[in-house]
Amino acid sequence: MSDLAERIEVAARRGVIASYLAGNVLTAIGVALVAVLVVLALAGPWLVPHDPLDQSFLSASQGPSAEYWLGTDSFGRDVFSRVLLGAQASLAIGVTAPVLSALVGCWAGMLAGYFGGWTDRLLSRFADLLMSFPSLLLGVMIAAALGPGFRTAIVAIAIALFPRFVRLARSATQVVRREPFIDASIAAGRGPFAIMARHVLPNIAGPLIVALSLWIATAIRLEAALSFLGLGTQPPAPSWGNMIREGMGDLVGDPWPAAFAGAAITIAVLAFNMVGDALRDLLDPELET
């Protein structure tokens, strides 16, 4: 009997340890990758071995070599330099859009959750409507209205993520709203906005930060998709999405630019996903996915 119990315990522990180790190794890799990406995005212009916009038909469509580490595209531009600089566009949009969305969405959600009634009904209804559209489709719709470009991509992605922040902030605020210290604050004569800023916001910040980190990954993927469709970052400025788009033109002769740009997107999204997952496990261990 004790033999069986021991075997079960050993087996269980082995499983737990294996998944814990896997989780921690993945987290460490994710954090390291995000750090590298941030450094590349900030220092990219000084790190590139070639001018990413420099065209040369003599060196067009070459595979990887000692001179051009990841080869050249059909304009003879160095793919490695373009992938490096692409990190800038991806992170600039991938971080700005969710942060913008979080700032606006979090206040909209707090208003809805704090006041309830008509404010809540109106804001929730609007968020539900936006939420019922897949984020890429929403992005395409907004790009159709504003015309393609860098700023369009930021606005489109921010709006696509907006309802998610509203919902999250709203439900978290509804919980905090019932706490006695809110009533105490009201009794002390504080206005609703002061209460939201001082007492509600710090209490709902945890889940919002987790969501923010997870949705940076989504935003990077959306930026890539919009640029791939020709609606985001415009050429000749390099972004991973429009590099795949340009690479599609000569997939037969030179598949390298598209392949490497796509790998960069995947690594960036993966890294932010891993960090987001780890943050969630840390701040919200109850959530089993």
Partner: protein, 311 residues
């Protein structure tokens, strides 16, 4: 139940009107004059005036709005501004390609995702679970259009098993053209379905009736398939509505990768060519799909779990 169907059905009306209004307003913010965009900068003022008159752009905004809503509801989208062909004809010829792709992807997603998710849940924290989680992580991180590009390079360019471009003619040829785009979106969807099946089955396996079944001495395989999985699939079924919409928006990029002449190609082509009647029609059709799928999902949820109708 019938009361709920009626209530939920009536809710569609304001939603559709709101969506149409948003599409109309969004396109009126569009910088640039559609007439100049269509005829070029050197068009004569008379030609521009005739063009505006033909499209009703010289009318007051509210007349344009009513005409737009009327046309959208009756399914008459006029002619394309860039090439003069009937938009209805274009929509009818492109819609099947998009719908077939979305359905094929859903089928592949369910066929791969459900067994993988169930396997991962039953062998929780063991290697099948780890494999499943890595698969899900990859599915969440790989952009669908990149998966498409990779499949295109491997199976069309190098192995030459599948055609590179287009939608195909005739049943078999169409099916042949559908394989790679279908797998592209299907694999990504499978990651979502897998994750949902896993967590849902884990939840069900903790329930009392599963313990009772095991206590009665029912074979483990029977417990899983007969008792647990059936109940675990309820949230998966309702989740399919959301995945179907994600997949539908995914067709826009994947159609571009495989040059499939679907709805997404029409819409993106319209945006780049500043063909604004085309964009208008494309957006309206996509929006209708979203409203329709959401309605169907809600009704399906209610059919599976009648408690919803009481709320």
């Amino acid at each position: 139940m019938s009361g709920y169907i009626l209530r939920r059905g009536l809710e569609v009306i304001p939603t559709v009107l709101l969506v149409l209004t948003l599409v109309f307003l969004a396109l009126r913010i569009l910088p640039g004059d559609p007439a100049i965009a269509a005829l070029g900068e050197y068009a004569t003022p008379e030609a521009l005036a005739t063009f505006r008159q033909k499209l009703g752009l010289d009318q007051p905004l509210w007349v344009q709005y009513l005409a737009f809503v009327g046309h959208a509801l009756t399914g008459d989208f006029g002619v394309s501004m860039t090439n003069g062909t009937s938009i209805n004809a274009l929509l009818l010829s492109s819609l099947p390609y998009t719908i077939e792709l979305a359905l094929a992807a859903t089928l592949i997603g369910v066929v791969i995702g459900v067994p993988l998710g169930a396997w991962a849940a039953v062998r929780r924290n063991r290697s099948p679970d780890l494999i499943g989680r890595l698969f899900a992580l990859a599915g969440f991180s790989l952009p669908d259009f990149y998966v498409g590009v990779l499949l295109l390079i491997a199976f069309s360019l190098h192995l030459d098993w599948f055609p590179m471009l287009g939608g195909g003619e005739g049943f078999l040829d169409k099916l042949h053209h559908l394989v790679l785009p279908g797998i592209t979106l299907g694999v990504v969807m499978a990651a979502f379905v897998m994750r949902l099946t896993r967590s849902s089955l884990l939840e069900v396996l903790r329930r009392d009736y599963v313990r009772t079944a095991r206590g009665k001495g029912v074979a483990e395989r029977w417990v899983i398939f007969k008792h647990a999985l059936r109940n675990a699939l309820i949230p998966v079924t309702t989740g399919l509505g959301i995945y179907l919409l994600t997949t539908l928006s995914g067709t826009i990029t994947v159609e571009l990768v495989f040059s499939r002449p679907g709805l997404g190609q029409l819409l993106i082509g319209g945006i780049t060519a500043r063909d604004y009647t085309m964009v208008q029609a494309g957006l309206v059709v996509f929006a209708f799909f979203v409203v329709l799928v959401n309605l169907a999902t809600d009704l399906l949820c209610a059919a599976i779990d009648p408690r919803i109708t009481l709320r």
